[in-house]
């Protein structure tokens, strides 16, 4: 099976800062990692490859140093890597990002499956997967928690998808696009041999000139949405914290808790 995994490089969670003028993230000085939710997609792809043969290609659109994320994916067992990078792509929203990713994936040639993470931990939209499927008219299943079977010979794919009520089983043809959740796999760590391969790996690159894209659909200009304001809300709440010293205190604290529930009209 030929599997493509779209991964995003994101700032290591907690301490990201925003530029109050442009409303974009300040990436300098913050360690970048593979979007943690994409690790599940990488692992699922590697397992399918182990079962059926073929290769796993990781694709990312981002700044030149997103190469680091690609190499890490190779160290985890992926075979090929593709970096889509150009100043002209900067400032892309999910529409424009997905447009470019779709163009690049089309250019890569035949594939059986595209996997995406459920969402990226920075932008936090979960839109890119469904967007790519729509752009390429590839069948889509989101929130996939289990790949029951994938048969490259018959082209049949059976997956379980999460819903508000439990799970549903879907049958899709190959090729399809899946977005996956944590439950699908337990990501392996990079191996020493993998790291060596990563160092030597050739990374295919695309930019705005060697990829056939319409200029008015890329970058900030090609993005329908505009961030107009960024606020950093106060997270700490300064609530009442009680530390009971004895049993009577504890009883008191629980009574106060019940008063709190009443005041908030929960009881």
């Amino acid at each position: 099976m030929n599997i493509i995994v779209a991964i995003k490089q994101v700032p290591e969670t907690s301490n990201v800062k925003m530029d109050p003028v442009t409303g974009t993230m300040i990436r300098e000085g913050v360690e970048s990692i593979i979007n943690p939710l994409d690790l599940y997609a990488i692992e699922a792809a590697n397992q399918l490859k182990e079962a059926h043969g073929g290769k796993v290609t990781v694709v990312t659109m981002g700044p030149p140093n997103a190469e680091k994320a690609l190499k890490e994916a190779i160290a985890m067992g992926c075979d090929e890597a593709v970096l889509i990078s150009d100043r002209a792509f900067a400032g892309a929203d999910t529409w424009s990002t997905s447009y470019v990713l779709a163009k690049a994936i089309e250019d890569l040639g035949e594939f059986d499956l595209i996997l995406c993470g459920e969402r990226a931990t920075d932008g936090d939209t979960g839109q890119v997967g469904p967007n790519i499927a729509a752009a390429m008219d590839v069948p889509l299943a989101t929130y996939v928690s289990q790949i029951e079977s994938a048969d490259p010979a018959t082209g049949e794919l059976l997956v379980w998808r999460m819903t508000e009520y439990g799970y549903e089983k879907l049958q899709l043809p190959l090729p399809s696009l899946l977005t996956v959740v944590k439950e699908i796999s337990f990501p392996r760590l990079p191996t020493l041999r993998g790291k060596q391969r990563a160092r030597a790996a050739d990374i295919k690159s695309y930019n705005a000139s060697n990829l056939e894209v319409e200029k008015d659909k890329i970058g900030l200009k090609g993005s329908p949405t505009r961030v107009i304001k960024i606020e950093t809300p106060k997270v700490t709440r300064g609530g009442t914290i009680i530390k009971p010293a004895d049993e009577k205190d504890l009883e008191d604290a629980v009574d106060k808790l019940i008063d709190f529930l009443k005041a908030k009209e929960i009881l």
């Binding site: 529409w95 936090d124 999460m162 329908p224 960024i230 809300p233 914290i241 009971p244």
Partner: protein, 333 residues
Amino acid sequence: MKHQNVWTIAEAHDGKLRTVSYELLARGRQLADDLGQELVSVLISGHVDKDELQKLIERGADRVLVVFDEWLDSFIAETYSNILCDLILERKPEIVLAAATFNGRTLLPHAAMRLHVGLTADCTGLAIDPITKDLLQTRPAIGGNILATIKSPDHRPQMATVRPKSTKPLDKDKDRKGEIELVPFKTAWVDPRVKRLATREEAGEDINIQEADVVVAGGRGMKKGENFNMLQTLARNLGGVVGATRDAVDRGWAKYPQQVGLSGKTVTPKLFVSVGASGSIQHLAGMKTSENIIAINTNEDANIFQVADFGIVADLFEVLPLLNKKLEEEGSK
């Protein structure tokens, strides 16, 4: 033709409308009034009762657009997207809102891509810009550490998904008048490539933690899976459901659909009770926008107290039995 009117996408399950449908109408009503336009509720579904449709009007819709067919019993993204795109192209709404549910967060990005319009995910605030009349869409990002306001000035319709439980439905108004329009189903809409073969509904309410008013979530401090029984009791006493930290899920004390946080679900209940959880940054990402937060933890320096409105620094094995007892006494008053 000029784009106009506000659309909200209703959702149904088992022949009944889901509450998020009414929450969206409350959002939409405000926007439609500010714009002086109609509020239209769109339902794409297998069958639901006629009385149910009337409820959409009682909760704020001026018009209800319904597409019914057996094909629509299962949510197939492509088929639903074909219908939504066609309706939008034909009738040109100004704004389209859907719930940030599993299906809403699948359908809207699919349609928005094809229509080449902007889409803002998981909004918690929506307003009309008084001057430009653009839709101002506010959403938490980066694990709730920032609030971004987004607009889409040059593309119509403006589309957004809205976080469940971030608004209250309007009160029922039996006297409200509105029109129900059945849109004839076209078989050309059906995309036969994807089929739903089976569903497996999980027993119990706990799995739908995103739509509960109260979430009681346990962490590693619960010590054992059996101890989650105490949380079940607490949840029952408060009319809520049980959630968990990743640690508790990984240990098999709770199921993945109950996981709150970065790699689980984001919840915004009226009340979140955290029991024996440290409040890691990844866990906070999924619960810190809750309306009220109560924390119980033995460690007074635990991060969770930073986001708590009310906290007790004590052993949960002492607090929970006492709390449950007192709540039961309250209940029988």
